[in-house]
């Protein structure tokens, strides 16, 4: 028997997107791109696990969610796992793959609105903070 089977309940706590990154993204997206969730629910939502409160994308936020998904998926190793996570997370958000492929970089485009540019910076900062937090001594 493998340890995973022995430690059935415990192994269910394994995450694809680590806690620090989830929380920095929570700081940016909770109540903005997504309806309000508790911190724990948000971590579960990001990790495709059941939540106490229903998780949903707020109206007209799909475009921004796509950029967040792209950025977070690039932090997941190995790369294939990141791609799979993106696909499953988009499905959970009700965003089609074709919409994602077409719009995931729109907030970086030259003609992007000020709000979208600010949002992009916030997501980039969240990713950088998570990286730096776990790198510093």
């Amino acid at each position: 028997m493998s340890d995973g089977i022995l430690f059935k309940d415990t192994s269910e706590w394994m995450d694809t997107v680590d806690l620090a990154l989830c929380m920095f993204i929570y700081d940016v997206c909770n109540d903005c791109q997504f309806g309000h969730l508790s911190g724990s629910d948000f971590v579960n939502f990001m990790n495709l696990k059941p939540t106490m409160q229903p998780a949903y994308v707020r109206p007209k936020e799909n475009l921004r969610v796509c950029y967040m998904v792209l950025s977070v998926s690039q932090t997941v190793k190995p790369r294939e796992r990141g791609k799979q996570w993106a696909e499953d997370f988009l499905q959970r958000c009700g965003i089609s793959r074709s919409y994602y492929d077409k719009h995931r970089n729109d907030v970086c485009a030259q003609g992007a609105t000020r709000e979208n540019r600010e949002y992009r910076k916030s997501i980039d900062r969240a990713i950088e903070k998570a990286r730096q937090l776990n790198r510093t001594p």
């Binding site: 430690f7 059935k8 309940d9 415990t10 995450d15 806690l19 929380m23 920095f24 937090l133 776990n134």
Partner: protein, 207 residues
């Protein structure tokens, strides 16, 4: 193994939160809270370690998990709303200020010395090598250069100190009380799951 000292560290956090004035915590207190979050936010590692430890010492793992479960419960029963008003970014910046000031002052001293040295060096360029002025200014210029080199080395030293302090305390800069609450909720969940897994496996072994 990080799993073996989470409980003790969480106990320190709980003691602090139960005894301090949460809305006016010091930098050192903010450091204790944020360092706990930094050191234990990798919950995947905790799960992996627990799984490995079960093979080596299930009894000790059980004890650690009970202790962690209890401390996490204690944390979650505390009222930490006072922490909401703390500006962790400002605490981080205030702690760095003396380092920045020292570095800035040393840089100013070095800049003045460099200007003085450059002026002398430029003057030497236009003096005949065998002139009295050259002979008297040359050693002064060398001494000034040595003085500048020492000051410059001090700037580098203080700049490195500043960077090290920035890295060491970065966890305070990006800390939010909600991060700690979520981590502890998960630690409680993980320790509860370890306890139930061990109990189940002990039950299976007795059947």
């Amino acid at each position: 193994m990080i799993i073996s000292n989470i409980s003790q560290r969480l106990q320190d956090v709980n003691t602090l939160l139960a005894t301090c004035r949460q809305d006016s915590i010091t930098f050192e207190q903010a450091m204790l809270l944020s360092l706990f979050y930094k050191d234990f936010n990798d919950t995947n590692r905790i799960v992996t370690e627990a799984t490995a430890m079960f093979q080596d010492d299930a009894e000790q793992l059980n004890e650690i998990s009970f202790s962690l479960f209890s401390e996490a419960g204690r944390f979650l029963s505390l009222d930490i709303t006072g922490l909401q008003s703390v500006d962790f970014e400002s605490l981080f910046e205030a702690n760095l200020r003396p380092f920045e000031l020292r570095c800035g002052e040393a840089k100013d001293v070095a800049t003045v010395l460099w200007r003085e040295y450059s002026a002398m060096s430029n003057k030497l360029d236009f003096l005949p090598l065998d002139s009295e002025d050259y002979k008297s200014l040359d050693p002064v210029c060398d001494a000034k250069k040595a003085e500048y080199d020492t000051a410059h080395a001090r700037v580098n030293l203080l700049y490195n100190e500043l960077q090290q302090e920035r890295d060491r305390t970065f966890c305070v800069y990006c800390f939010k009380p909600v991060f700690l609450s979520v981590l502890v909720e998960r630690l409680k969940g993980i320790s509860g799951s370890i306890i139930s897994d061990i109990r189940r496996m002990k039950g299976d072994a007795h059947e």
